[in-house]
């Protein structure tokens, strides 16, 4: 109990409260702008968190990402343009409701069930993480290696592209972490005589380049989104309680699926929304109503993506393995703030962990009033001209990276390089998220890999003959072979969906 009181003391401080409110509005705004994703919102925040206290830094990341995932639904509802990829699964459904004149109900569903889903996800984080921490304490380098590999393989599975290209992107990320002298032998690798490269390639400039600068570049090649109509919206929360009682099964299922997908390393909110929407349709009594503005799928998927957000922190906090790109960024912040992920975090830094739970709950509660304000302002925010927003984001890319790297201009070059690299990759069907997870986890994968091999005198047998590591290894190989299986199944069914579509 003492720790809980201490945790409340950590959270209810002036700087943390300011950070929560400011990042809430920031997250809502960025999420609502079409083309700017929740990941981008979080990536651009990292330089700012550098200068905050640890709890305030984590609070900004948690609040901004939760808000951005919700507010990505706003342009989806009103314009049929998902504000973030996590809303893409049910954008059509939400827009169909708007066309039927039920815009406020659709937005209300997104808001209400996002908040409930977020709280359910947090409860699962509070329950699962300490339980798994016990187990994680017995893990050695073999298990950690396979867990990291499983995370990397999952990140290639969820990419909606060729799995081979996704694996190639992931390996490129791992190769990037080889640069520098931070390796088992302490020898300079791939530095080509450059002193800037000796320290390796920092994660944050790479993230900012891939997720923010590349987005600015891409939007230069795309048309302006259509103008939003200025419509009068009625009460947002009216009827939500009735829907909660009408669809308890859908909501619970959405929460549970979101939590499970969040806990899986490598799979996050986008995936949760797609799976939950498909499940809602599959198990619905009225599947024919889907796509015509039916609330069922919206409830399930809207709850699911926000639930996955909190449970995505489970592998992040326990093993330093990101659940998705947002937690990949969060892990960077945790290390920066001296809260190094690991099972001991729950005993040595217990009050920080409780503080994290409190912030999650708080963030999801204030989402409702703040979300309503944002929905009211939506026609102004969503309609903000790209020609004013994008240049500012570009400047933030430069200054933010510069500031986190200790005022080193090499970071700005890195951002520019990764911007171009990410843009070209995305254009050619190589998923950048897989590469980023590779960059975030590379050093850890190599350390566990090499330490394990040294322990076993170069034999690969111990990777497979320990009980937990053999299960994890089997799961990793299953993830690797899954595309082959699904391709064969499509073949047997007669050329699959391509022809059908």
């Amino acid at each position: 109990m003492d720790t809980v009181i201490k945790a409340f003391g950590l959270v209810f401080q002036f700087d943390v409260m300011i950070a929560v409110v400011a990042s809430a509005f920031y997250g809502l705004t960025v999420g609502a702008l079409p083309g700017l994703s929740a990941t981008m919102a979080t990536a651009l925040l990292v330089p700012v968190t550098f200068y905050l206290s640890p709890i305030a830094a984590i609070a900004t990341i948690i609040t901004a990402s939760a808000m951005a995932i919700f507010s990505g639904d706003i342009p989806g509802c009103l314009l049929r343009i998902p504000g973030t990829p996590a809303s893409a699964a049910y954008t059509d459904e939400a827009y169909a409701m708007t066309r039927k004149g039920q815009a406020e109900t659709a937005l209300g569903i997104c808001l209400w069930f996002s908040a409930l889903g977020g709280i359910a996800g947090t409860l699962s984080l509070m329950l699962i993480a300490p339980l798994l921490a016990e187990m994680a304490l017995s893990f050695s380098t073999y298990e950690n290696f396979w867990l990291a590999m499983l995370g990397l393989m999952c990140s290639t599975l969820v990419a909606r592209s060729s799995p081979i290209k996704a694996i190639a992107a992931m390996l490129l990320g791992l190769l990037i972490t080889c640069v520098g002298i931070d390796n088992p032998g302490g020898v300079p690798r791939f530095t080509f005589g450059s002193t800037d490269l000796l320290g390796g390639i920092e994660v944050i400039p790479a993230l900012v380049g891939v997720f923010a600068l590349a987005e600015v570049m891409r939007s230069l090649t795309e048309r302006d989104p259509p103008k939003i109509e200025n419509r009068k919206l009625g009460s947002i929360l009216k009827g939500q309680w009735k829907l909660t009682k009408e669809y308890p099964k859908q909501q619970t299922r959405g929460n549970i699926v979101g939590i499970i997908i969040g806990v899986l390393p490598g799979a996050g909110a986008d995936m949760a929304a797609w799976v939950s929407y498909a499940m809602a349709k599959r198990f619905s009594k009225t599947p024919e109503k889907f796509g015509t503005g039916h609330p069922e799928g919206l409830i399930e998927a809207g709850a699911s993506n926000n639930a996955s957000l909190a449970s995505g922190w489970v592998p992040a906090l326990l093993f330093g393995i990101p659940g998705d790109t947002i937690t990949a960024i969060a892990i960077g912040v945790l290390y920066m703030k001296g809260l190094n992920p690991g099972p001991t975090l729950f005993t040595s830094q217990a009050e920080s962990m409780y503080a994290l739970y409190i912030i999650f709950i708080l963030g999801n509660i204030i989402m409702i009033p703040f979300g309503i304000i944002m929905i009211r302002l939506a026609s102004k925010v969503v309609g903000a001209p790209r020609s004013a927003v994008m240049p500012v984001i570009m400047i933030f890319c430069a200054v933010g990276a510069f500031a986190t790297a200790g005022n080193n201009l090499f970071a700005v070059w890195c951002v520019a390089f990764f911007g171009v690299f990410g843009f070209v990759m995305e254009k050619n069907g190589y998923p950048v998220a897989a590469m980023v997870l590779g960059i975030v986890m590379g050093t850890m994968v190599e350390q566990n890999f090499v330490t394990s091999l040294i322990k076993s005198d170069g034999s690969v047998l111990p990777f497979f003959d320990r009980p937990v590591s053999s299960v994890l290894a089997a799961m990793t190989f299953a993830a690797l072979l899954w595309p082959v299986f699904s391709w064969t199944r499509d073949r047997l069914r007669g050329r699959g969906r391509v022809v059908a579509a």
């Binding site: 700012v48 550098f50 200068y51 909606r160 060729s162 799995p163 081979i164 694996i167 190639a168 390996l171 490129l172 791992l174 190769l175 080889c178 390796n183 088992p184 032998g185 302490g186 020898v187 791939f190 600015v216 570049m217 891409r218 939007s219 230069l220 090649t221 048309r223 302006d224 001209p385 020609s387 004013a388 994008m390 240049p391 500012v392 570009m394 400047i395 933030f396 890319c397 430069a398 200054v399 500031a403 201009l409 520019a416 390089f417 911007g419 171009v420 843009f423 070209v424 254009k427 050619n428 890999f449 090499v450 091999l453 040294i454 005198d457 595309p483 499509d490 699959g496 391509v498 579509a501």
Partner: protein, 163 residues
């Protein structure tokens, strides 16, 4: 920017081969069988395999499914191809970042950022009525945030922040 899978796949395979051979040349740690060369060699080998599979078009099927999905969700006007020069315009933001890296120390943050905002805003099709005030105000506000709230000094150059 759209390259054929043959080109991108061979580039990846070549990069993997280079990483493999570079890795194999790294000095070992005395007394240990496994050292700094193991990981680049494994990753390099993986890249060679993936690159070759991409060249042979394996896995293309999944991209077709995903693309068909995108097409079925998009509105017709989004699918019309844009003029080719717009693709080259995308190189403007990284070029402006390179300009920042080269010029900000001597010019200072405010003038450098003003030039960047102005050019980027015009590239997005802004009228000078919007672009010019934005180029003056935005760098100023960003400098204020970094200097006063986050206490990060940005390069002063010829036009330092006035207070």
């Amino acid at each position: 920017m759209q390259l054929s899978d043959r080109i991108s796949g061979s580039a990846i395979a070549a990069l993997g081969a280079v990483a493999f051979f570079y890795g194999s040349k790294l000095p070992p740690v005395p007394g240990q069988q496994v050292g700094p060369s193991a990981f680049p060699m494994v990753v390099g080998a993986g890249l060679v395999i993936c690159g070759s599979l991409i060249v042979f078009g394996i896995g293309r099927h999944f991209e077709e499914v995903a693309e068909a999905d995108v097409v079925s969700h998009a509105r017709p006007e989004e699918l019309e191809p844009m003029a080719a020069w717009r693709n080259w315009l995308a190189l403007l933001p990284p070029a402006l970042l390179a300009f920042y890296a080269l010029a900000s120390e001597t010019l200072g943050f405010l003038p450098t950022a003003a030039v960047m905002v102005l050019l980027c805003s015009l590239a997005f099709g802004a009228k000078p009525k919007l672009a010019v005030p934005l180029a003056i105000i935005a760098p100023f506000v960003i400098n204020l945030i970094f200097l006063k709230l986050l206490r990060v000094p940005l390069p002063g150059g010829i036009l330092p922040f006035p207070w």
